[in-house]
Amino acid sequence: MKKRQDKSKTDGGISLLLSIIVVFCILGAVVFSVARKISTEMSASAIQNLSESLDLIECTIEAVLNKEAEFQRLMAQEIAMWEDPEEYICTFQKSQTMVKISLVRAGETAGISNTDGPFSGEALDFSAGGMVDGLPVSQSYTNYMGTWAYTMKCPVVKDGAEIATLYIEYVYDTLDRALPGGFYNKRAMLYIMDAESRRMVLKPKGMGERSAGHLNLEDFFRANDITDEGLREEVDKSIRDGKNIMFNHDIRGKNSLIYMWSVNEGTLYLIGYVPVEAIQQEGNTVNQNIFIVVAVMLVAFFLCCVLYYFNQRQQNKIRKEREQEREIHNRQLAEALQAAQIASNSKTTFLSNMSHDIRTPMNAVIGFTTLLARDAENPDKVREYTKKIMASGQHLLSLINDILDVSKIESGKVVLTVEEFTLNDLVSSVDAIVRPMAVAREQKFHVEVTGIKHEYLLGDETRINQILINLLSNAVKYTQEKGNIWFRMIGMKQRSPQYERIRIEVQDDGYGMTPEYLDIIFDAFTRAENSTTNKVQGTGLGMAITKNIVELMGGTIDVSSEVDKGTLFRVELELRIPEGQANRRFWAENKISRILAVGNDEEACENIHVLMKEVGVETDMVCSADKAVQALKENDGEYYQLLLVDWNVADMEGIDKVKELQETAPDTMPVFFLADCDAGLDETILSGHTKVLAKPFFVSAFQEKILEIRAEKDKGHTRDEAAVNSLEGLHFLAAEDNEINAEILREILSIEGADCEIVENGQLAVERFMRAAEKEFDAILMDVQMPVMNGYHATRAIRALDRRDAATIPIIAMTANAFAEDEKEALDAGMNVHLAKPIDVELLKKVISQYVSGKE
């Protein structure tokens, strides 16, 4: 079909082209004919013009000759009246026209002339019979002046008898003066030829082309390459007959018109030539103009064609682009439809999963609640059931948290809370959470930190924590028992001195993923489904949340995995380095400027060196206990302020070596063993000055341990945390609209030995507080979403009250609005702290103990 369309297009183009060619051929033929007609007419006109010019010249010459003859007759009449004609002749001076005047008396052969003495008419040749106005004219000759001349003779008649003959010599130069300086823009040549002798008696005065053929007719023919015998004979005959002739001939490559114009009945001839282009100048101009017009029209036409062509091309291009756009749109629509369908399917699947995942713990809660009701009398059963109900509830809570996270991230409502944190805390907290999980599954959990230059960084620690927990809990989940989990934190080369670039790697040797699943791993509502992983509970939202958070932080995440070989997640983040690291001061204040580190892991040693240098502490590295002993001995007791020993040294060289080292160190010198959490340390070596520092090495952790030693040294007593956090004897005002929640709260507090008064909304809470005596309530527990007046307004109202404790009474938000923004809003409203529901009793106790004053 398309081919046929193309073919018809081509045919159309060819026929259009042919039509244009035909139109142009017709136009060309018309222009050519018109030009030719004009040329022919102009040529005829030019020839007519030329012949008229020649006629004019002929008439001029004949007029001069006739006047000469007439004047000569008058002179003859005058002479006849003189008694001594010779005397009369001698009185004449030579003039420009009559260069010699001679008189020969009748019957004599010699006479006199006005120029020199004797004159004989016999030297002159009148045999040709040429006449001018009835007077015989001689053949042309070169005269005494070296120029061409002719003589006319006139009888001097007195009383009817011829008494003498008057000879007057004229020069052709006279005729030259009567002729135009040149015609046809001086491109026409003009000779005067004596017809009898065929000699050129007057020649053009110039150069160039006129250098040829000036001698006689033969020379003229030869110079102008006129060799056609027939033509020459015809010319010869015409000259003999005294006819005017004109013919075309090429002279020096130019088509010329040669003319021979009879003067004075053929005794003289005007001979010459003119290039045809010179006489057809007007015709040529007209033709040139016609061609210019045609050319301009053609150029304009072609320009129009070009414009039309470009326009068409542009149109086609736009059409094509539109078609392409349409196609892209269609494709996008199809893709969107497909995506929507997939999303819909995913959500259906998700809902189905959720339904399943929520129902399962709910089933457990309801089931165990039923069992609880039945076995309420049996404390062991009750404890067991409540434990299981608690676990199911926790699981449900995590499910809900994940769903909310995804929803918030997708709607762009997540705000990062950037604060200073230490990598030590981050790693410690992650380690604390993940290690038990790994241990439970008998997996080995390796933590490695290398190349980190700055430990204190700015970032959202909670979210980074979330990322790591997500990745690591997945690794634990999707790795078989006794497998390995690696958690690496690698300092990369900085792109900017203000940012620490960190790569976090989470690797396992677990089940791995299929390439298909890798493609959608970061999409929400997906979960690897197979017989192995079905046992694993989850929302399928973790990775989507992780990716979104990483990207929110301007980082990248990628994953590589192979089924049954394991998975590697790589997260790269750039975290700002806080200005002015305060902990530098700590080391200076504690007078620690140089430490000795013993270890055989070069990378770890380098890491320590870098980190310590950052806080202004020099680290001398030795690779064995012996060398460390030697170093300690070589330097006095004050040289090193601390000794840091990698526990690997003990593993490699034996505990005795370590003990020797410990003994060598001065008694006051604190010794730290850097060991894995699960390393079995010999308790005998631990003393007041010897502490264990968990791997990986962090300055902040190091610092804490030093503080610990100092604290022990100061023998400061540590408060019993449990006692501190006790709620015993406290009295709370609680605003809670949900009866069940209110009940739970009351029960929990009563278990802890506290009591509480519950009101149903914020308004009632404000009113109750107004009525209350000072210090009647230790704190107010405030729900946020309540009828009549919400928690925020209530808090503001309380804080605005005009009583002394209105500004100081702790108000604790207890709400299901669990996000950072909610927390911020709560604090803005004047609340002291924000706790998310469901209530974690321990956390509540800790917070209350922190804010409630006077409890001690």
Partner: protein
């Protein structure tokens, strides 16, 4: 995309606008608004130059003429004058010669500038018909020998555009064919002619009625001009102490012998114009030797394009090959109608700048001491002799008896049957005339 489209449209619009402007401009020349048209009469400053023209062949440029024309154009451009050429060429030997016409025209003050042969220069200068050119700037650049040859009664009467040197044009191929060395002396020359004749070349020397005198002059004055006593010998001739006929006799006897042996066809030579008579046979390699002037070797209408190895050598003499150098020149008529412009025109035509152009175009020896150009290989033998300062002057204004014209006429007497003695008697008569004046 849009930018590009706009660009194309702009280009197309500009083209159309340009086209329209072009057409409108081209067609804008209309009729003058004023109905009465006036025409200024052109007033031309004319200088007339009388010079010869040879009979011409179609589509052939005369090199010498072209060279001269370049200098004329130079003068026309610098002075704003127009040089009108007046020419004369004799149809045959019965016609008046160019020299006759030149004499007539100069005596009747017909023209302003004249290109003259040395004898005519001497005659007209003697009659006081030529202007003194020694005041021209260009005269200062002339070689001494050129000046000397054109000074009559202390007046510089003509200045040439080239130093004309005559020599023998020989067909080297034919000399080689018959194992002949190029002749140095009259005896060797006769021997060459004998060998040629024996080998079927009946008339080894092609001649015309003008240039046979060069043989005579070469033999007559070889020792006078190259013997180191030139001025004294000329003084002796001018005073009558020595006779021209004594110098001339060997040359005439030599010519007579040539004629007698049939090496020269005297009858044909007597009626032949220069090159016209003998040129065709020489070019056809029927005649191995002709005589001509330097420029003929450069001129396509003369011997410029031979089909054989041509060399130009000096004439045989007792002192070896001898170039003969008559001095033609351009003169200004004393009563010239446009004398002032004529003098200025000549000054430019013979300036160093013009002579450089002339010499380069025509490959000739320049009369200016400041101008030198290379010659063609054929002319090298002749040029070498001239560079060695070995030559005979064909005309010398310091000799009271005009040489170039008179010798030519007396050689014609020999050609027409007079004896050597009669010819010598004519020299004696002419010398006697000079002594009488």
């Amino acid at each position: 995309m849009d930018m590009r489209k706009n660009h194309k449209e702009k280009v197309a619009a500009t083209c159309l606008a340009g086209l329209a402007a072009l057409v409108l401009t081209a067609c804008s020349g209309g009729l003058p608004e004023d109905n009465v048209m006036t025409f200024e009469k052109e007033s031309e400053r004319i200088v007339t130059l009388f010079s010869p023209m040879e009979k011409t062949k179609p589509d052939v440029d005369n090199v010498a003429r072209s060279a001269s024309e370049k200098t004329v154009v130079m003068a026309e451009e610098k002075l704003g004058v127009t040089v009108d050429y007046i020419t004369y060429t004799a149809e045959d030997y019965q016609d008046k010669t160019y020299d006759d016409i030149a004499l007539d025209r100069a005596r009747n003050d017909m023209d302003d500038l004249y290109l003259l042969n040395p004898d005519v220069i001497q005659k007209l200068a003697g009659e006081g018909k030529l202007m003194d050119l020694s005041g021209l700037d260009s005269a200062k650049n002339l070689r001494d020998v050129v000046k000397a040859a054109n000074i009559v009664d202390g007046r510089l009467v003509a200045i040439p555009q080239e130093v004309v040197a005559y020599g023998l044009f020989v067909n080297k191929d034919l000399f080689d064919k018959y194992h002949l060395a190029l002749p140095e002396t009259p005896e060797e020359f006769l021997e060459c002619c004998r060998v040629f004749q024996e080998n079927g070349i009946e008339t080894p020397v092609g001649a015309n009625r003008w240039w046979l005198e060069t043989f005579v002059l070469a033999q007559a004055y070889a020792e006078l001009y190259n013997g180191g006593n030139t001025e004294a010998e000329i003084a002796a001739l001018n005073s009558g102490e020595k006779k021209y006929s004594d110098y001339m006799r060997p040359g005439f006897e030599f010519l007579q012998e040539m004629i007698d042996r049939g090496y020269i066809d005297a009858g044909k030579a007597y009626v032949s114009e220069a090159i016209d008579g003998e040129g065709a046979d020489f070019l056809a390699q029927k005649t191995p030797i002709v005589m001509a002037y330097w420029g003929a070797a450069n001129t396509p209408t003369a011997y410029g394009n031979p089909d054989f190895n041509m060399l130009v050598i000096g004439f045989p003499s007792s002192m070896g090959q001898m170039p003969v150098m008559p001095m033609t020149g351009i003169a200004v008529g004393v009563n010239a109608l446009h004398a002032e412009d004529a003098m200025r025109t000549l000054d430019i035509m013979v300036s160093d700048e013009a002579l450089q152009v002339y010499a380069e175009t025509n490959k000739v020896i320049s009369p200016s001491k400041n101008v030198a150009v290379d010659c063609i290989p054929a002319l090298k033998p002749l040029n070498d002799r001239i560079n060695e300062n070995v030559f005979v002057l064909g005309s010398n204004a310091s000799m009271k008896l005009e040489q170039w014209g008179n010798t030519c006429i007396i050689v014609r007497m020999l050609l027409s049957g007079s004896t050597v003695d009669e010819c010598m008697a004519e020299f004696d008569r002419l010398q006697a005339e000079t002594l009488e004046h």
